[in-house]
């Protein structure tokens, strides 16, 4: 009996210790090459500079995950989220409002990077990419080319699901990027986009993870694909590929944001970290490792010239881009995903 009792006491003590023990400041980002760059540029220097211990986690997005993590006392503090998670999370009250004074004021950031509950982390884009070695006489230059299987025969890939696919199918009809969401909101706009996708259905395959498009291009599985811009350039730099991005074809760019989960027990430290992450001189260091752009107005100016052209928000690229309409997608993503899957499943 004494043995059992002491065992019970010991385990109870362990549980209590676990509860009582204050955890370290936790930051959650998107893993892979991107988080490795963040670790080198931000997480390690931050710990050295402030003496605050920092623990990392990774995730792949999803408001469902964020909700689960925010229950009670959250196990994460600072998280990098996509726009729709920022909007939904802030409306649902699972995110802390940020201290914008500490960040230097809202006017110091791109307007799209400013939100009550979040501050822009990076500017990234979904672009049209192809292997330059496969097209010595010039590759696809527009989304119309992407949908033209006679001019450019072969398989092509899009991200599975309606997001960006519908935008690109709309651009392929000659709609300029800036008018894409207007066209999609107009009656029949979504039908037209689906009809366009349908026209090359037998040559389409779909990717799921950001690492797949460079792999699909490298293996010759597809002749062109939609892709995250950073991954394409990273493949060129690390694997000596000759992949090209057709910026002028039009692209959808998005801003990921830093947020702090509601009731974070480390709110002050978390705010300090968010401030550190969004300092212009720190943001400007990222493109050298992976070409995602700064959201701080001064940060954009500090990016070294040789990397500045490859980021989505550079003066060369920006005119061809359209900002991801999170409001449109928050509203429609469920029904359109169902429709996309029903469409994809029909032969």
């Amino acid at each position: 009996m004494t043995f059992t009792r002491s065992l019970a006491a010991a385990s109870l003590a362990l549980v209590l210790a676990g509860v009582a023990q204050a955890r370290d400041l936790t930051i959650t980002s998107w893993g892979g090459a991107y988080q490795a760059a963040q670790r080198q540029l931000y997480f390690e220097p931050f710990q050295k500079e402030t003496g605050i211990k920092l623990v990392e986690d990774t995730w792949d997005g999803g408001i469902g995950v964020l909700r689960a993590k925010a229950q009670g006392t959250p196990v994460w503090d600072v998280v990098q989220v996509e726009t729709d998670e920022l909007i939904l999370g802030c409306e649902e009250g699972i995110l802390e409002p940020l201290d914008w004074q500490m960040l230097g004021g809202k006017d110091k950031f791109l307007p799209a990077a400013v939100h009550e509950c979040g501050v822009g982390a990076i500017v990234w884009a979904t672009v049209l990419a192809y292997d330059g070695n496969k097209f010595p006489d010039g590759g696809p230059a527009s989304w119309a080319d992407f949908f033209d299987t006679r001019k450019f025969p072969g398989k092509r890939a899009l991200r599975r699901g309606p997001r960006q696919a519908l935008e690109f199918a709309t651009m392929a009809q000659g709609v300029p990027p800036s008018k894409v969401y207007e066209a999609l909101r107009a009656p029949g706009g979504i039908d037209k986009a689906f009809a366009k996708l349908d026209s090359i259905k037998k040559d389409l395959i779909f990717w799921e993870a950001g690492a797949q498009p460079p792999q699909l291009l490298a293996s010759g599985e597809v002749v062109m694909t939609s892709a995250y811009n950073g991954r394409i350039i990273a493949a060129n730099r690390q694997d000596k590929r000759n992949f090209k991005i057709a910026w002028q074809a039009g692209f959808v760019y998005q801003i990921d944001s830093w947020v702090i989960l509601k009731n974070s027990p480390k709110k002050a430290e978390a705010m300090k970290l968010v401030h550190y992450l969004t300092r212009p001189e720190n943001q400007a260091k990222l493109p050298a490792l992976i070409p995602y752009g700064p959201t701080h107005v001064d940060g954009a100016k500090l990016v070294p010239a040789e990397y500045a052209e490859e980021i989505p928000s550079s003066p060369r690229n920006l005119p061809y881009g359209v900002f991801f309409d999170a409001a449109f997608w928050v509203e429609h993503v469920e029904k359109l995903t169902e429709r996309f899957n029903a469409w994809a499943a029909q032969k």
Partner: protein, 420 residues
């Protein structure tokens, strides 16, 4: 065992002694059974907490409809009992408008908006946009104020949707899981064909699982036979080869298949070089890729039960059949195959049920037309936080699987299942 009665008391008569004896025996038996049960108690508790409760919770989630009632209790109560088509009477609208504003100030209105958006895309904005701009006082009545903010409030559809959201439980998720929906008059209708998807996906899930089971059986049976008939010295290393994939990460194995099967991959290259193919064929990101990768992953689950059953079949039986004049085929079909059936039944059931839940393999090596039902469960759970829909799809899969299991038990007989 204890004596039937205390030794110091003399027996009154033989009959009572016999009854005493029986009672004491029963008591002892009961105590033993209870002891046995007590030993199994941790397991029972474990199953209850980590298996039964989550399933009940999931079933409950699929009909859960608490959002409106928890955020706007008075409106929910009024709307629940209100009958009629079109906008409800002014006093209900007034309560609704007041609670909407309060919910907005408490930052809870998003929950209601999200719930209504599941009835119809666009209602999220209707609720949020209205809540944001709602004035404190109504000019010309609350209904007129709402219609001024958005004409949709004058339509019957939104009010029918709100009434559905006010009920204590909902069937919209379960209906949606079988491609049905309710219209303005709450009648059940099939959804438009471009949204009808889940019955197809359910059928696809079972079809892919059945094919994978068949492939595993065709590949696994001879392999298990070989393992069982080899001397232990050889069988053990071979068994380790069979088990080897278990020790490799699932993702690594799938990635390896992509490398092997892709257009310029090893297999296509080889077939083109030896002249079997003129140009590479698509082996991955389609159904072929899914079948190949899933069969590879699940093969050990077929081989192991088969092997353990086959090891128990004496080779002398087949030899006896042969010596009595049976041809090898007849000896196999009449003697060996029936004896190995428990292994076939167990392996097939194991592979089939595991295959039903597959998610990551089809997601990575399949096309959009090869996704199985778990893909959509994951989509709704993680990406849109629509746990009702995720639970409804999961419940559908559970119910249909149990039905199939029951059918299987009737046809094959559960007592013939043997895992070893």
């Amino acid at each position: 065992m204890r004596a039937p009665r205390p030794p110091n008391r003399p027996p009154r008569c033989l009959a009572t002694a016999a009854v005493d004896l029986r009672r004491a025996l029963e008591r002892a038996e009961r105590r033993r059974a209870l002891g046995g049960f007590a030993l199994a108690l941790p397991l029972v508790a474990f199953l209850f907490v980590f298996f039964l409760l989550p399933i009940v919770g999931m079933l409950a989630k699929s009909v859960d409809n608490h959002e409106l009632a928890s955020v706007m209790p008075k409106s929910a109560e009024l709307l629940r009992t209100w009958r009629g088509v079109g906008p409800p009477p002014e006093e209900i609208v007034a309560v609704f408008a007041r609670e909407l504003k309060e919910a907005y100030l408490r930052r809870e209105v998003a929950v209601v908006a999200q719930r209504l958006n599941r009835e119809q895309a666009g209602w999220r904005n209707l609720i949020l946009g209205t809540a944001r701009r709602l004035p404190d006082t109504a000019e010309g009545g609350w209904l007129a104020t709402l219609v001024r903010l958005d004409p949709a409030w004058g339509e019957p559809a939104i009010w029918a949707g709100l009434r559905r959201a006010a009920q204590p439980w909902t069937d919209i998720f379960l209906l949606a899981a079988v491609d049905l929906a309710r219209d303005e008059r709450d009648a059940i209708r099939p959804v438009p064909p471009e949204q009808a998807i889940y019955l197809d996906i359910l059928a696809r899930t079972f079809w892919i699982s059945a094919l994978v089971t068949l492939l595993c059986l065709v590949l696994g049976y001879p392999l298990a036979y070989l393992l069982a008939s080899l001397p232990e010295r050889w069988a053990n290393p071979l068994l380790i080869v069979v088990l080897l994939p278990f020790w490799t990460s699932l993702l690594v194995r799938i990635a390896a298949w992509i490398v092997l099967l892709q257009r310029e991959g090893v297999i296509n290259d080889f077939l083109v070089r030896i002249g079997v193919l003129e140009e590479p064929v698509a082996l991955v990101f389609n159904r072929t890729g899914v079948l190949v990768a899933m069969t590879h992953v699940l093969l050990p689950f077929m081989v192991l039960p088969l092997y353990s059953v086959m090891r128990g079949i004496p080779l002398s039986l087949t030899r006896a059949a042969l010596s009595l004049g049976a041809t090898p085929w007849v000896a196999f079909r009449r003697v060996y195959l029936p004896l190995s059936m428990p292994g076939v039944a167990a392996g097939s059931l194991l592979v089939f049920i595991l295959a039903l839940g597959y998610y990551i393999t089809p997601a990575l090596v399949g096309g959009a037309a090869d996704q199985m039902i778990s893909y959509f469960v994951a989509f709704f759970t993680l990406h849109t936080a629509n746990w009702g829909m995720a639970a409804a799809l999961a419940s559908l899969l559970l119910v249909v699987t149990l039905l199939l299991y029951w059918l299987y038990a009737r046809l094959v007989g559960i007592e013939r299942l043997r895992l070893g």
